[in-house]
Symmetry: C2
Subunit: 147 residues, 2 copies
């Protein structure tokens, strides 16, 4: 039985925690049960569908030491059925103290019978190293509820 996320924020937290644990099943359970889910990596790799996305993350987990992602929400838009978060990710590899990134991600969530799930994760490298942790670009995370 899968977990029901009652908010896009909960689903997003579970997504990044699963990355932190290298837990492929937990990671995949955050995605919507849909053939059309999309994941775009900072490398420019475009993945569509659960099989391609699972394969990619399996490979990422296999070839990296522990990944810890610190996430700062920049802007959130919330509809009845879709929510979108623009976030800044700072990545730590293993016990390295120096962060990688920052990455800019647009995360799209859908509300369905099983709560909120991830439809799309689009990540790309930020040009601004200052936005890692220090937050020079994105500041607070105002929640824009549209309904």
């Amino acid at each position: 039985m899968s977990v029901i996320f009652t908010s896009a924020e909960d689903a997003e937290q579970a997504f990044y925690e699963a990355i932190g644990r290298g837990d492929l099943d937990a990671l995949m359970s955050v995605w919507a049960d849909d053939e059309e889910i999309v994941c775009i990596h900072p490398t420019g790799q475009y993945l569509r569908g659960p099989l391609a996305i699972r394969d990619s993350w399996r490979s990422i987990f296999a070839s990296n030491s522990r990944l810890t992602v610190h996430v700062k929400r920049s802007v959130c838009w919330k509809g009845l059925l879709i929510a979108v978060h623009s976030v800044v990710e700072t990545l730590y590899l293993g016990d390295e103290p120096t962060p990688h990134g920052p990455m800019l991600s647009t995360n799209v969530f859908q509300r369905g019978a099983n709560g909120w799930r991830l439809l799309s994760h689009h990540a790309s490298a930020s040009a601004d190293p200052g936005s890692a942790e220090t937050g020079s670009a994105p500041q607070a995370a105002p929640l824009r509820t549209l309904h």
Copy 2:
């Protein structure tokens, strides 16, 4: 008086046509009237708010020859108030026959009193040159209506 876009598709078409004409006012009129709009360029530049976004596109239009963007929708998700399109952009500069890109973009639209407007445009370079025009990665553009 600004144009009212009756669908996210119309707003998206107006966005790319404005880029093709180098028409800054038309481009900005597609965005939602909101301080929290977001534009992420393939360079990794993160822009928030209409002033920063306008300045950036003014500079892009000033320093480039005519830009023509061919857009192929990969996946679209449509809620009552928010729609998200995952698209592949192929860019032509001036009269050059060889395309640049492809770029992968996640475009987020909001339905308000003035129809559909752009909330966020997140573009990054694709790792797959074959997805330009030939469409090796994204195929059709199934519209996922969630309501």
